[in-house]
């Protein structure tokens, strides 16, 4: 049962680790803190996720900023508020959507690989989190 943002991030964290990603929480990027970062050494892809129990719009605005450092960016929200999300808006900017329900998470739609992530910022995050690049 998801009762807090921490519960949500726990679920996400576990899900990415089970798929072979290295993960780190509350990762600093310039003046921001990314809820969860997941790195896939196989394709050198860095995923940034903003998790929110409510206020998907706020999550989206935060996620927009993570495009400057990550290859794939998602927002993660509980199933109960997913009907409020403007899917077209997310797709327009390539932000993926992860839905959390009880004890599992699933990807509603994939993020579009960002064209504009900055190599230096991405490398800094990978190095800072001790992920092998």
């Amino acid at each position: 049962m998801i009762q807090s943002e921490k519960d949500l991030v726990d679920l996400l964290d576990e899900s990415f680790r089970m798929r072979g990603f290295s993960t780190a929480r509350e990762v600093r990027m310039l003046s921001k803190f990314i809820d969860l970062v997941a790195y896939n050494p196989v394709d050198d892809g860095l995923v940034a996720i903003e998790a929110k129990l409510s206020g998907w719009r706020r999550a989206f605005q935060q996620a927009m900023t993570y495009r400057i450092c990550a290859d794939d960016v998602y927002i993660a929200i509980p199933a109960g508020i997913s009907h409020r999300v403007d899917m077209k808006l997310l797709k327009r900017y390539g932000i993926g959507l992860i839905i959390a329900s009880d004890d599992h998470v699933y990807t509603r739609f994939e993020a579009e690989r960002t064209k504009n992530s900055h190599a230096r910022l991405k490398d800094e995050i990978i190095a800072e989190c001790g992920m092998v690049g």
Partner: protein, 420 residues
């Protein structure tokens, strides 16, 4: 109109290079220096002011020794810059030895008022020109040669500020003390040279009687500096801003400056405000009694369309999708050229110093525009900025711009009332 004065408040020694830069020097009128900075960094401050050779004033910061002075304290006592200032002001026995704040009773005796006015204003006057016997004769000789005025212009503040304290309303005992300090300052230093600070709550603006009383009591002074605590132009309600413009109109034609201030204050030049003195890209408003601390220090960038500063990450995010809208000022134009207009590369090359220079250039351009145009033209221009933000920022980027709508509404009301 036409000569709205931009002062920059210098807080760190590192900022002096920005203000001395030839490409920036002509974009502002002068500098404001906090008395604590001036007392603690006397050598670099006086050297800087001499080199800069532009108008300046010293904010006496006497309110800091008043109640709720937590922002001047550290764990082991008073911050060094303020204890140095207390010594300069001759109040060390109370605030350092006595370890207490100033209270209204400390000014019961007129001789204490005179002593305080003298020490705080002499400090301002003599900061970079401590007149010794030999210097005095040099000045006299320069005067005979006809250079006296030029020398004193550079060496002395543009005006002196009477010591001031924060008052909650006109019933507050500190209000009358302010009036006494101002009266004494005028007597001792001459009417033309002395400015007074009105340091209070913005709620005062909503009470017509209250501000009429203030306008009347401050009628005998040529210059006034306004400091409404926490007066963040970006989140004020329309009524407060409208009252602010009414207050300015009632106070004019004095020389009225804002102790801090941002874009709305520059717009307020149309209502009688003559200048602002924020930090460079920061401190456009300030709470009187406490300082906000903590959080992550971050580079910030001024977004010209939204008239606000945002953290670099949010600015990057916006310009990634809108590279054509990158600022075209001299600073940004050069960086954009080097970065081949790639926003990510642009922000990598944008150092904090360059971001501050960009702020100075934008402020100067906005000021120029506002002074040269009519209120209707300015309103149309602001409307364009608002529409741009509505179309391109709304709900997508972490950039605030709703204040533009409030400002527009204030300006439109003023225009409508002029037509009536």
């Amino acid at each position: 109109m036409g000569d709205f004065k931009l002062y920059y408040r210098i807080g760190m020694a590192a900022e002096k290079n920005i203000l001395l830069d030839e490409s920036i020097k002509d974009t502002y009128h002068g500098v404001a220096v906090g008395a604590n900075v001036a007392a603690y960094g006397k050598t670099w401050v006086s050297q800087f002011l001499k080199t800069l050779s532009k108008p300046f004033f010293i904010d006496p910061q006497t309110h800091a020794f008043q109640t709720s002075r937590d922002f001047i304290l550290k764990n082991d006592g008073m911050k060094k810059s303020y204890s140095t200032l207390a010594l300069e002001y001759g109040i060390e026995q109370i605030v350092l030895d006595g370890k207490r704040e100033l209270v209204p009773e400390d000014f019961d005796a007129q001789e204490d008022v005179i002593k305080f006015v003298k020490s705080t204003m002499e400090f301002q006057r003599k900061l970079i020109s401590p007149v010794t016997g030999s210097q005095k004769s040099i000045f006299e000789y320069a005067e005979i040669l006809g250079y006296g005025e030029e020398i004193s212009k550079v060496e002395e503040p543009e005006f002196l500020i009477a010591p001031y304290f924060y008052f909650r309303n006109t019933e507050d005992p500190w209000y009358n003390i302010n009036l006494r300090l101002m009266g004494c300052a005028k007597e001792l230093f001459g009417e033309s040279e002395v400015y007074a600070v009105i340091c209070t709550e913005k709620d005062v603006l909503l009470e017509e009687k209250e501000f009429d009383r203030i306008v009347e009591h401050y009628s005998g002074i040529n210059g006034i500096i306004l400091w409404f605590s926490d007066f963040n132009e970006l989140n004020q309600e329309k009524e407060i801003l409208k009252s602010y413009t009414r207050f300015l109109r009632k106070l004019s034609p004095k020389d009225i400056l804002a102790m801090y201030g941002g874009h709305f204050s520059i717009l307020s030049s149309k209502f009688g405000l003559n200048g602002i003195s924020p930090g460079i890209g920061m401190s456009e408003y300030k709470n009187v009694t406490h300082r906000v601390t903590g959080g992550v220090s971050s580079n910030r960038y001024y977004i010209p369309h939204a008239k606000t500063m945002v953290v670099e990450a949010d600015a990057r995010s916006f310009y990634l999708d809108h590279p054509a809208d990158l600022c075209k000022c001299d600073v940004c134009g050069k960086i954009a050229k080097n970065a081949s207009s790639d926003p990510n590369e642009f922000f990598t090359q944008l150092t904090p110093e360059l971001a501050k220079k960009h702020y100075c250039l934008c402020r100067a351009a906005e000021n120029r525009y506002i002074q040269e145009r009519s209120l209707s033209e300015i309103t149309e221009n602001l409307k364009d900025d608002f529409n741009f933000c509505e179309e391109n920022i709304d709900g997508i980027y972490n950039i605030k711009y709703r204040h533009l709508e409030v400002w527009l509404s204030v300006l439109e009301d003023v225009i409508a009332s002029q037509v009536e």
